[in-house]
Amino acid sequence: MRAQDQPPVLSLRGISKSYPGVQALSDVSLDLHPGRGHALVGENGAGKSTLIKVIAGLIRPDSGELLVDGQPAAFRSPAEALRHGIHLVPQEISLAEDRSVAENIFLGKLPRRGPFVRQSSLVARSEDLLAKLGLETVDPRSPLRDLRPAVKQMVMIARGISTGGRIFVLDEPTATLTEPEVERLIGVVQQLEAQGAAILYVSHRLAELAHVAQSITVMRDGKAAARMPLEGTTEDDLVQAMVGRPVERFFDTRQKRNVSEKPVLEVEGLTRRGKFEDITLRVHAGEIVGLAGLVGAGRTEVARALFGLDRFEDGSVRIDGENVKIRGPRDAIRAGLALVPEERKSQALVLDFPISHNIVLPHLRQMSRLAWLSRRRIRRLSESIASQVRIKAPNVSTPVRSLSGGNQQKVVLGRWFCEKPRVYILDEPTRGIDVGAKSEIYQCIGRFTAEGAGALVISSELPELLGICDRVLVMRAGRLVGEVATAGATEEQILQLAIGSTK
């Protein structure tokens, strides 16, 4: 806490920014102090991204001012922000994928002699930087393309250090990282703080924030809704500040749900060589079954094969006791399956389409008389579904591209409701969406299972699986290795099965 009394290195004063129809930021003020971490949380669409972009010089605010070291500064471009030592590590990292790690670190300021790049110095200096970040094993000469996202992120941070960055903005840096990678990142952030850098850390994962930040700003509807010290703040406090109302019973899938004896989905010996083998499982009517495992354990592959997106070589699938042959998604839909895929933007939505057309996409046939689409039917169905899943948007003609992640996910989930599927396969249904939308998705899952459907939920968030599922199946290296009834189960039990340790 030594740095507490140092004057802020960056201050925002009354920042506002509006877009046609949306007040993205209104009167936001924020201070970043050297050597300290400040957390920024809020639902998607609360204005976090806009605020970050203002700080990084990507967006110019309509009003309000930025002070760097107490001096007013206006960033007309990202380059100017960089000159002040402000370094943004964005969520989706864009680097020169085909160039080497070293070149990426020093992009734009390669050490040169005359017109030639000094390779030796470039590599040596990169090695130094990487070593500081605990990445001795990374060869600075290897092309970036070969590296994991976590390492690319470190390259971005190394770049910031090499330019003398003193304000680091990290936008959901851990969204795609594994547990050890998260720990390493936290270590690096702490190191940056110890060296006097100011950190603005955006994350939905409250457990992480305790390690990297001392204070926290909660954004809601474009405003800084609450500011508090991190110490003593509970998860419930934060959720409440983010959502703006008390959230009772977060994992709300249990009410009025009867798990029947009757299986709706029976999979036997499902095999796709090299991906998964001999998968046998059952989901009963009204039951929510979790599928846990490490990334690469084959969970997504099973989901894709069940839905007909990938072929499988062996095995049978029964729905409501009847054998079904699934050659493609069309067969799967007809048989009563619904899939919410892992990547909603690339795998489920047509971003240029409005909400309504995305919702009716699997049901175009029912929306038409002969071959002609009925606008009225489309509107009626999509409005009914949009209100069921509580999509927040001006109307159903709003392009899906402009929705927040949570609302996009509601479109993907809601589109299946009208077919009354027997089994929902949900692959990371709440990845990257805010707390409010998460709880609404859980309610939806609770609702359709209460009506007698079954659900197979893939998730990498164990608290989620333990919270909403009746039992959790665990996969490891393409095989089912165990089953845990969630009542009284712990995350450790599942992890041990997933990793295969025997302690």
Partner: protein
């Protein structure tokens, strides 16, 4: 601010106001369908000032009659481009001439034989394109380049590389015939454009096609048989190309293997000028029609002004760049700002063109 969507409560509520809003918004939508309508209007105004012969019914009817051939190719091209995944049909022009040539071989049996033979040829090449693109790992550019070359070979082989005279009775109707006083080629193009646009915007086929072009994986996951659509669009393009071939044959009274040379590029130019994204999923046939008309009128105006053919080409090239960069849907950036930002570039281009012209002179 945004709110949760609720179901509209009562249908009669403010029905009149809604209806009024719908008419204006529909009009606006039709204009917005192609951002190039204002450009077209400017072009017509400028043209009528520069040349008294420009804004006359005869001139327009002539321009459109000749433009109908490229128009038909461009409609097919639009549908192919909309289907995404690098969709493009380079073969349209040579399929048109090959279809005309094949059709002409049956002229002894008259139009009832010529027409089906030509259309079947177009369909054949279209389906070959579709199957090639769908079931191989090859880019549409490559596949259609190959069929383009094959179609060219077929046309040359069958004609010994010299135009065949055609005198099938009734064929000239496709060039000089009138329906309600309107030249037949224009009627055919209008019918194809209207039908095509209705199918695109109002049918399951159209919606699915946009979905396939916008996000193929999402469309497949929603149960749409994406392969069927991919083959379908190339088949449609092939058939429209053969129809264009018949129109061209009727206009020339010969089956000329060379008559459509370069038209594939003209059709692509019309598509992009009309605002359809080459990336697929966005655009429409109405815009393409505007694109075709703009290109045809510019060339016609320059002719009327006695600008020579080669300068005409240079100007056409410039216009493509300018129009497309104005019409490109950029995200978040207001149109006015975009136009202002592009002005220096256009100035430079224009200066460069004038300088080049001066040097060459």
């Amino acid at each position: 601010m945004t709110q949760t969507i609720t179901q509209t409560s009562s249908a009669s509520e403010g029905a009149a106001a809604t209806a009024r809003m719908q008419t204006t918004s529909r009009l606006r939508r039709v204009i917005a369908l192609s951002g190039m309508v204002p450009a077209l209007i400017v072009l017509i105004v400028v043209g009528s000032v520069l040349s008294p012969a420009f804004l006359t019914a005869t001139n327009f009817s002539n321009v459109l009659r000749l433009g109908a051939v490229i128009g038909l190719l461009a409609v097919g091209q639009t549908i192919v481009v909309l289907s995404g995944r690098g969709g493009i049909d380079l073969s349209v022009a040579h399929v048109a001439s090959a279809s005309a040539v094949v059709g002409s071989l049956y002229q002894a049996w008259g139009l009832p034989a010529v027409l089906p033979a030509a259309l079947a040829t177009g369909l054949f090449f279209g389906v070959v394109n579709g199957i090639g693109v769908t079931f191989s790992n090859l880019q549409p550019f490559i596949v259609t380049l190959a069929t383009m070359t094959i179609a060219q070979g077929v046309a040359f082989e069958l004609t010994n590389a010299s135009p065949l005279p055609v005198s099938a009775p009734g064929l000239s109707w496709f060039s000089t015939g009138l329906i309600l006083g309107i030249p037949v080629p224009i009627v055919i193009l209008a019918a194809v454009v209207i039908l095509g646009q209705l199918v695109l915007s109002g049918t399951t086929f159209g919606r699915s096609l946009y979905a396939v072009g916008g996000n193929e994986e999402a469309a497949y996951g929603a149960g749409i048989d994406t392969r069927k659509y991919r083959i379908g669009v190339y088949a449609i393009s092939g058939v429209l190309a053969s129809l264009a071939g018949v129109l061209g044959m009727a206009q020339l009274n010969t089956a000329d293997p060379n008559f459509a040379n370069g038209y594939e590029l003209s059709s692509i130019a019309a598509v992009v000028v009309g605002g359809t994204l080459l990336a697929g999923g966005r655009g429409n046939i109405w815009g393409t029609l505007v694109g075709v008309v703009i290109m045809a009128l510019v060339s016609n105006l320059l002719n009327l002004l006695n600008v020579n053919q080669w300068t005409n080409l240079m100007v056409t090239g410039l216009i493509i760049v300018i129009v497309v960069s104005l019409n490109r849907p950029a995200e978040g950036q207001p149109r006015r700002e975009r136009i202002l930002k592009s002005l220096p570039l256009f100035g430079l281009l224009l200066l460069g063109a004038i300088a080049l012209y001066g040097i060459l002179k």
